[in-house]
């Protein structure tokens, strides 16, 4: 389509249909590519794919049908003013990125520490100088093993981030399916 328009307007700059060789030909795209949006969406399948409420809703539903998975005040003006304990300088506007990096580490860490036990994404809340990790956990492991892992991750993360890290678990028998798509 683009090639034909080009050739119509500007003469034979593009190798358009060559009458001699009936082979496949490559066109030159010069308009902007508009790829489909694939962020945080589960593609529709045959109707047998179970998805949780979190997965079923796309990111544009945040604040309409979904909440946030990570709650902190890194984007507020002067948000670091009250808690210089963790934030060093008092300017306060550029810490959202650091919080996000910490979040990525926390999610990977907990995903690995509780192998196959997480039923949904973690919810991370930052309150004063603490980090609260709220996890939805399957009942695969016996309770004392879950307590061992909780104690381990709390201690390790506290030492790593130099602030109190608390884990709150909620157990479900299986992944909570919202719908099948």
């Amino acid at each position: 389509m683009a090639a034909s328009m080009c050739s119509r307007g500007l003469g034979p700059w593009v190798l358009s249909r060559s009458h001699a060789l009936p082979c496949a030909w490559r066109a030159l795209h010069v308009s902007a590519a508009c790829a489909k949006n694939r962020a945080a969406r589960v593609r529709v399948g045959k109707g047998d794919k179970p998805v949780t409420y979190e997965e079923a809703h796309a990111p544009h539903h945040i604040a309409h049908r979904k909440g946030w998975l990570s709650l902190h005040t890194g984007l507020l003006l002067g948000s670091a003013l009250w808690f210089p304990l963790r934030y060093g300088n008092l300017d306060g506007q550029d810490h959202a990125a650091e919080r996000t990096v910490e979040d990525v580490f926390l999610r990977k860490f907990v995903l690995g520490t509780f192998p196959g036990c997480l039923a949904d994404q973690l919810v991370l809340k930052r309150r004063a100088n603490q980090v609260e990790v709220c996890a939805l956990v399957l009942r695969q492991l016996p309770a004392h093993k879950l307590y061992f892992l909780v104690g381990y991750s709390e201690a390790l993360l506290s030492h790593f981030y130099k602030c109190p890290v608390r884990m709150h678990l909620q157990t479900v028998p299986s992944k909570v399916v919202y719908k099948y798509i």
Binding site: P84, L85, R86, G88, R139, A143, H144, K145, L146, Y147, F148, L149, V150, G151, Y152, S153, E154, A155, L156, S158, H159, F160, Y161, K162, C163, H168, L169, Q170, T171
Partner: protein, 669 residues
């Protein structure tokens, strides 16, 4: 406050240092009243939090905060709660192990101010060369063998080690008895050593103590500490002190006393801690009680001569040793207490614990127990304590034990009130002691208190504070029985399933027996029957797990009766069938009730079935039942004949030799 002062200051000059009074010549509106302005208060950093915390009471429906708030993760018995807390702690230890293994990842310090407990720790000595600094570092890291080696190397190299360093090396050796600290020292709480000490106390309370039973390190003769002590060119008093205290700690009283005489020969004085150890040493010697007490008095006199003031530990040590003297120790104990008061030393909870143990050593009050507990509680009312002695947390357990043996509820309330004053709740001790305290308290409540208040305590304490034993629940059931409140029983059964008593057969038998004993109004009967059905299902699930079915006879009887009374005749008849299966004999009253039921439903077939069952078990009541059937029911001729056969066979077996009938009955059992 500040604003007011500033505003006032802007006016006429006044003096506000300390408490100020208005000067007299102020004006007509000031009468002769003196206004005292108090000093500015300084608040603690967490004062607001403490004030807020004081408005919130314990939530009686929630599990302790250390557990995750989720039904799968809340413990249902004391064993589980202990195992969960231990699992969590062991997870923390695993994390600390990893952190100390790779400290370079945890060095970035973003906390302001610096939090030292969140930094990795270094347990290996850094200084490698042979010097006194290296020796001091090893001592600080508590590496016994390494520091002894370093010391020897220093001596071989010819360098003299300073007196303080040698003294601190001696301290290390004497504290650990020339052995390494336990391998998991950095991770272990002191729980293990507490349990060892408790065990050793209980061991020593027995009159004959075998030497082989001793726990912990014993002081070997000519170990490193003694060797280094002998090598020291100059010794000061501190060296003697540590040696004596180390010897006493590791059960070498004879050497300790010898060293003490050597100390006196060198014209040095002992300090109060050394005297405390020496008192313990005299109690450890193998002598008669009077001699030991006289030796202790000697030591105390020497202490007074050397002008060493005794402290709380001195008296506590004396009382601890007197505890083992049984009846002989009572008078000296009271003398000690009086001396303590005379010197103005405030006794701690451990003091009172030792006194209670001394005076109430045997459980039975048959010998006429003393009233010292009442004096103690009067003394302690409303007092707040702070931790001063490691044995402080044993007081409440022994006090409640005494209350329980004396069966005095008022006293128990006083003890509990003391526990709830101020910060005294911290002295309840570890979980097994807390469980013991509350079990005794609750049993006493069930025994002595009115049922409404008991039920209130039940809701308050269980399960948020402790998990009851089956015996505590049985006590509660008996209390309900006495107070004629049997309608609460289904609720109690439902609760006890949650605390892990689902398969506790004595509890189930007690419940069934109480429910089945008397007749009750119909709604209650229905509730009881539901409860009985529930218990029956637990028995069945228990059977599924075991190979040999084992239902107690009482339970079978009670369940059948309850079904019958609630009008669930079908299930009741099924129960009768179960008797044969489990080889248990139905009681006579049960069969009579079945007969009544058959009469009420007017079915002679059932009546004959009952007689057949009775004869199958060869019960003597069979004849009576048969008679009853004949008179009460309208039965046909064949049935009469069948009945005749049954009774005949029953009477035949009766008239047979007794061994036969016994054999039958035994089979039936």
């Amino acid at each position: 406050m500040r604003m007011r002062l500033v505003a006032a200051r802007s006016g006429t000059p006044r003096f506000y240092s300390g408490s100020a009074t208005l000067p007299k010549g102020e004006g007509a509106d000031v009468t002769g009243i003196e206004v005292v302005i108090p000093k500015r208060k300084t608040w603690d950093k967490v004062a607001v939090l403490q004030a807020l915390a004081s408005t919130v009471n314990r939530d009686t429906t929630a599990a302790p905060y250390a557990f995750q708030d989720d039904p799968y993760l809340i413990p249902t018995s004391s064993v589980e709660s202990r195992s969960f807390l231990l699992a969590k702690k062991s997870g923390e230890n695993a994390a600390k192990f990893i952190i100390n293994l790779h400290p370079k990842y945890f060095q970035k310090d973003i906390a302001e101010p610096h939090i030292p407990c969140l930094m990795p720790e270094c347990f290996e000595p850094q200084i490698e060369d042979i010097s006194e600094a290296a020796l001091q570092e090893r001592i600080k890291l508590k590496k016994v063998k390494a520091s002894v080696d370093m010391f020897d190397q220093l001596l071989q190299a010819g360098t003299t080690v300073s007196l303080e360093t040698t003294n601190s090396l001696l301290d290390l050796l004497c504290y650990y008895g020339d052995q390494e600290p336990p391998a998991d020292y950095h991770f272990q709480q002191s729980e293990k050593s507490e349990e060892l000490e408790e065990a050793s106390e209980e061991n020593t309370e027995k009159p004959k103590k075998k030497a082989g039973q001793q726990l912990g390190a014993t002081w070997r003769a000519k170990n490193n500490a003694e060797r280094i002590f002998a090598l020291m060119p100059e010794k000061n008093a501190h060296s003697y002190y540590t040696m004596i205290r180390g010897m006493v700690k590791h059960r070498a009283p004879v050497q300790a006393l010898n060293l003490y005489t050597e100390l006196l020969n060198n014209r040095l004085h002992a300090d109060v801690y050394t005297f405390n150890s020496l008192i313990e040493a005299t109690a450890m010697m193998n002598e008669k009680y009077e001699e030991k007490w006289n030796n202790m008095l000697e030591l105390l006199k020497q202490m007074a001569m050397q002008k060493v003031k005794p402290n709380l530990q001195t008296f506590n040590t004396i009382l601890k040793c007197l505890r083992r003297f049984y009846a002989f120790g009572k008078l000296p104990a009271l003398q000690t207490l009086r001396e303590m008061k005379a010197l103005g030393i405030e006794p701690s909870l451990a003091t009172y614990h030792y006194i209670i143990q001394l005076f109430y050593q045997h459980e039975s009050p048959s010998k006429g127990s003393s009233l010292v507990i009442y004096d103690i509680m009067n003394e302690l009312m409303g007092k707040k304590f702070s931790p001063q002695d490691p044995d402080d947390d044993m007081f409440f357990q022994s006090a409640m034990r005494v209350c329980s043996s004396l069966k005095d509820l008022e006293l128990a309330y006083q003890v509990h009130g003391l526990l709830n004053t101020g910060d005294n709740w911290k002295f309840i001790g570890p979980s097994h002691r807390r469980n013991f305290y509350y079990s005794k308290f609750f049993s006493l409540l069930c025994l002595m208190e009115q049922i409404d208040i008991t039920l209130k305590w039940y809701k308050d304490l269980i399960p948020s504070v402790f998990f009851p034993h089956s015996q505590a629940l049985i006590d509660l059931l008996r209390a309900l029985d006495v107070a004629n409140r049997l309608e609460v029983i289904p609720q109690i059964w439902k609760d006890s399933k949650e605390y892990g008593h689902t398969f506790r057969s004595n509890l189930k038998e007690e419940i069934l027996m109480l429910m089945a004993r008397d007749q009750h109004p119909p709604e209650l009967q229905v509730a009881f029957a539901d409860c009985a059905a529930d218990i029956k299902s637990t028995y069945e699930s228990q059977d599924a797990r075991q190979t040999a079915p084992d239902w107690p006879a009482g339970s079978l009887n009670c369940i059948a009766v309850l079904f019958l009374r609630a009008g669930r005749a079908q299930e009741a008849w099924k129960m009768l069938g179960l008797f044969k299966k489990h080889n248990k004999i139905p009681r006579n009253e049960l069969l009579n009730e079945f007969m009544d039921n058959a009469k009420a439903s007017n079915s002679p077939a059932q009546a004959i079935e009952i007689v057949r069952l009775a004869s199958a078990f060869s019960l003597p009541v069979c004849e009576g039942l048969a008679q009853r059937v004949m008179t009460d029911f309208a039965i046909s001729q064949e049935q009469k004949e069948a009945l005749g056969h049954l009774t005949a066979s029953a009477s035949d077996s009766d008239s047979d030799s007794s061994s036969d009938s016994d054999g039958d009955i035994n089979e039936g059992k």
